[in-house]
Symmetry: C2
C-alpha cells in the first residue's frame, strides 16, 4: 500500500512534503483535500490532523502531520535512497543543519507566508492585499535574505556544501514569493543562484504546478 499524502496542491506545506517524497524516490498516493469546501475542517480529517491543517501522511496506518516533521521522518526512514538530506556524520554538522532548519521557521517562513497570503491568496479569492502588511513583511524578509546572502557566499547550500532538508523546506514558499517579488532574489546573487538551483530540481518541476 503506497504512502498517502493528504493535502492540497495550493498549499506550500503540502508541496514541501511532496518534494521530499520525490527526492527520496518514495511512491505516494495524493489525496486532494478541497480547502474551499472546508474538507480540512471535516471530522474525519480533524481526527487525523487535530489542527485542521494540511498536510498529513498515512504511512500504512501511521499518521503524521507537520510538514517538516514528515520531511525528517521520510529522510530518516529512506536514508539509503536518493540524497541523504539529513547530515548525520557528526554532532556539530547535525547541529548546524538543525540551526538552518529552525532559522527557516523563525526568520523566513513568517514573512514569506504573509507575503504569499496578502499578494497571492487574496488575489486568487478576489480580495485586495493590505499594503501596510506587505511592506512590513517585505522589509522583514529582506533582512533575512541579507543574512542568507552572506551565508550562501560561504557555501552552496543553507546548512553547508550539501543539499539538505533545510534547503528544500524553503523551496515552495520561496518560489511563490519570487513569483511575486522577483527583485528580492535577483538583487542578491548568491540567494538567486541558490533558489534557481532548487527550482531546477526535477522534484520541484514535478509539483510546482500541481501534485
Amino acid at each position: 500500500m503506497a504512502l498517502k499524502l493528504h493535502g492540497s496542491p495550493y498549499s506550500t506545506a503540502t508541496k514541501r512534503v511532496a518534494i521530499v517524497l520525490l527526492e527520496k524516490h518514495v511512491p505516494f498516493e495524493f489525496i486532494d483535500i478541497d480547502l474551499v469546501k472546508g474538507e480540512h475542517k471535516a471530522p474525519d480529517f480533524v481526527a487525523k490532523q487535530p489542527f485542521g491543517l494540511v498536510p498529513f501522511i498515512d504511512d500504512e496506518g501511521f499518521i503524521l502531520y507537520e510538514s517538516r516533521a514528515i520531511g525528517r521522518y521520510i529522510a530518516t526512514k529512506y536514508a539509503s535512497q536518493g540524497l541523504a538530506l539529513i547530515p548525520t556524520s557528526d554532532l556539530k554538522t547535525a547541529a548546524l543543519f538543525d540551526q538552518a532548519v529552525f532559522s527557516e521557521v523563525a526568520n523566513f517562513e513568517g514573512p514569506a507566508q504573509a507575503l504569499c497570503y496578502e499578494k497571492w491568496f487574496k488575489s486568487m479569492i478576489g480580495q485586495e492585499a493590505d499594503e501596510t502588511v506587505v511592506a512590513e513583511n517585505k522589509a522583514t524578509l529582506e533582512g533575512t535574505l541579507d543574512v542568507y546572502e552572506i551565508v550562501l557566499s560561504k557555501h552552496a547550500y543553507i546548512a553547508g556544501n550539501e543539499l539538505t532538508l533545510a534547503d528544500l523546506f524553503h523551496l515552495p514558499c520561496g518560489a511563490r514569493v519570487k513569483g511575486i517579488f522577483p527583485e528580492l532574489f535577483s538583487s542578491r546573487p548568491n540567494v538567486a543562484k541558490w533558489l534557481e538551483a532548487l527550482e531546477r530540481r526535477p522534484s520541484w518541476q514535478a509539483v510546482k504546478d500541481g501534485i
Copy 2:
C-alpha cells in the same frame, strides 16, 4: 572552559536554552547581552549570530544559534545525563516527537509571542498594547490550546508519556502568557496540569526570574 550562553534574561528563547542546560546538568557561563543598549546588533555579536538575535552558545569555540537547535544539540551531546529529552527508541516515536516540536513553532509560538510582545514587552517600555492584535492572537492561541487539551487528555506530555524537549520549548513563553491571561490555561484542565508540572521543575524555578 564552561559553555557560554550569550543571551538576555528577558528573552524567552534564552530561557529555553537555559532550562535545557539545567535539565541536562551542563554547567554554563551566562553572558548577559543588553538588548536596550543594542548589544545584539553590535558587529562582534552579529559575527556570531548573523540575524542579530539572542541567544547563541559558544561551546569551546563551536558557535550555534536558534534556541531549538541548541536544545537538540545539548540533549544529543549529553544524552546520558539527566532525562533523555529526545526519544530515539524507534522511528515513529521520534517522528511524533518532531511533530510536537514543529507544532510548537507552527501553532503556539506565533500567537503566544505576539501576546507577550503586546501585553508584556510594550507595558515594560511604557507603550499601549494594540488590542486588535491581542484579540486576534488570543483567539488563535485558544484554538491551539483547544487541540492541546485533547492531546494532553491522552498522555501527560505533549509528545507522549515522557517529558521531552517539545514540552520544555513551550515553557518560557507559555509561563509568560499564563501570567497575562491565566484563564487561557485554567479553563483547560489538562493544559493547566501540564504547564503547572513544567513550571514546578527546578530548571524553571532557577531561571524564571533571571538567569
